[in-house]
Amino acid sequence: MELFLERLISGLTNGSIYALLALALVVVFRGTGTLNFAQGELALFTTFVAWWLTTQSIPVWIAIVAALVLGFVMGALIERTLIRPVQRRNDMAVLIVALGLFTGLNSLAGLLWGSETKIMPSPFPNGLDDYVSIGGARLYFDALGVWGALIVLMFLMTLLFKKTKIGLHMRAVADNPESATLAGVRTSRVLAIGWGLSGAIGALAGVLVTPLAPQQLGLTTMFSIFIAASAAALFGGLDSLVGAIVGGLVIGVLEAMLTGYISIIGGSLQQTSALIIIVAILFVRPNGLFGTQKLVRV
């Protein structure tokens, strides 16, 4: 029971991270109809910057805020300079640019900071004794912090999309950018904000996940998280915020249970199992589980 609870807690914590990055993917997909393959590496890059700032004896909270701001700026800049000019051409062009960013950003981080793993300090108290006991299982404060961050973000995002004018405009642009433009919506600003937002959310995921385990910040850190997050986002059909969150948590828990209880999967086939989940989901529901069915009219 104790073991089960601990696995559940760790699954939920990882799941929250997947959910965060999945949210970032969903925000971009809703705005531009593309899967940002570079989302994970963008998060990686900003996390490296946050880590580097902490090594310059800057407090971790300030480093994190800086990473979020950088994530926003980079996201917005990427949209404006790299994505928008090719967006009109075709989907393949956008995918290829994203692939370019994927390798480019990852290698750039390696070039600047080396390939050895780093220790990212946690913004939450994360000593060995910083936990509460639930049914004998330990719930560490930094895990709680991750959960809290997800809940707050979820609330803010719902508010943004449902209640604000910019949220309405984001939905309009996602639906039909030209019509939105014709109605007077500043499409380019809305798109840049959307990408900026997703860059910031991704950065948040990065700075929250890396302190959870020692030596966790390395060049490959975000990739497996990106894979799991894509599976999570797909769970909701790439365009549902709720779906992304549910998907993230489900995949996190599933993974913790599978790797914990089924020895053949162990640690080494984690990505493969996440990916099998992706394929399975897609096969059952080509538009995801929560996704809106798009009517193809000819």
Binding site: L82, N90, L95, I96, G100, T103, L275, P286, V296, V298
Partner: protein, 370 residues
């Protein structure tokens, strides 16, 4: 190249007012056309002879180029002509390589005889990877291929008994000696692999050319450009995509098999990660998507560029270069090098099929539309 199921954008009428340039007409199958073909073949042979006479290290690089080119020809069939972006072709490359490696080391197959096995296996796995395209489209399908590409090294690491796991698999060079009929000795393996790869590349390119020009090629392109219209015109879109994936996988697997014989040592984190897929995609885009010569040009670029930009290391800098290059091509030359050259040459020369109506009647050649 549309990969997502949006309805075709309506084509805005664009009357052209530019003066019509005079163009040379070359009729396919005519003496002039045959002459051009013979000349090109001669140039290729001369190049190969020159390349084979280079220092061994350089010969090896050329061999690598040919092998990568074969892999890109495979990728081109599915991504360029069928419009399904695959970022999982590293898995086919790896599958071909490991099949050959395992058959040679564990079962003492002759290197050449492993090739058909690698091809068939990659074909079957290709069909399986293409299977989701029955239901999954566009971006989502790209994710599936990503899954395949990422899983491959994990599975190799896991299947330790067969693959040697993370430590890798070494094929001793005595197993890789050139076949006896060539008259080459073991030390001349480099030159043997050079010619084997060059000939294979040419055969594969001929095959791809034949495929693209066949009824099946039309079906591939029709599925790429407009699925619903393709189906309405009698194209079995699902079968076309699956088969294209199979053939594509088989060709890339063939490249992998040659790669194993060329390199002699395999490890899951070596040449079979996502980075290899990205290298293949870069080569394809740079050379020219859906062109016949593009893969070769692209292969030259992806093999030689990192070599010249980052001296000998293929460390992080080559990743930055690939990334920047990929983005730059999409901006500067989306049709790729060969695509751009084709566009330019069309302004000067028109290749006319022999059965073009204007040939039959001796009418004026076709003009620009007005």
């Amino acid at each position: 190249m549309t990969t997502i199921d949006t309805p075709e954008k309506t084509v805005a009428p664009r009357p052209s007012r530019t003066p019509k340039p005079r163009r040379r007409i070359v009729v396919e199958g005519s003496a002039k056309h045959r002459g051009i073909q013979a000349l090109s073949a001669l140039l290729v042979v001369l190049f190969l002879l020159w390349a084979a006479s280079q220092p061994l290290f350089r010969v090896g690089q050329f061999t690598n180029v040919f092998i990568i080119a074969i892999a890109i020809v495979g990728l081109n069939l599915v991504t360029g002509y069928t419009g399904l972006l695959s970022i999982g072709h590293s898995a086919f490359f790896g599958l071909g390589a490991y099949t050959t490696g395992i058959l040679i080391t564990k079962y003492e197959f002759a290197p050449m005889s492993t090739i058909p096995v690698a091809v068939v296996l990659s074909f079957v796995v290709g069909l399986a990877v293409g299977l989701p395209s029955l239901r999954i489209k566009g971006l989502y399908l790209a994710l599936v291929t990503l899954a395949v590409g990422v899983s491959f090294p994990e599975i190799v690491r896991r299947a330790e008994d067969l693959t040697g796991g993370a430590t890798g698999l070494v094929i001793r060079s005595r197993f890789l000696a050139p076949p006896e009929w060539t008259g080459l000795v073991r030390a001349e393996r480099g030159i043997w692999m050079f010619w084997l790869s060059a000939v294979t590349l040419m055969l594969v390119m001929l095959l791809a050319r034949f495929l693209v020009r066949s009824r099946f090629g039309l079906a591939m392109m029709a599925s790429r450009d407009h699925e619903i219209a393709a189906a309405a015109n009698g194209v079995n879109v699902a079968r076309t995509k699956i088969l294209a994936f199979g053939i594509s996988g088989a060709i890339t697997g063939l490249a992998g098999s040659l790669f194993a014989q060329y390199i002699g040592a395999l490890s899951p984190d070596g040449s079979f990660t996502l980075l290899k897929s990205i290298e293949l995609v870069t080569g394809l885009v740079l050379g020219g998507i859906a062109t016949q010569i593009g893969p070769v040009v692209g292969a030259f670029a992806v093999v030689f560029l990192p070599y010249y930009t980052a001296s000998f290391t293929s460390g992080p800098l080559s990743g930055v270069v690939f990334g920047a290059l990929l983005i730059a091509i999409v901006f500067v030359m989306p049709e790729g090098i060969v695509g751009r050259l084709t566009l330019l040459s069309r302004k000067v020369v028109t290749f006319l099929p022999a059965d073009h109506p204007s040939r039959r009647k001796g009418e004026r050649p076709p003009e620009e539309p007005t």
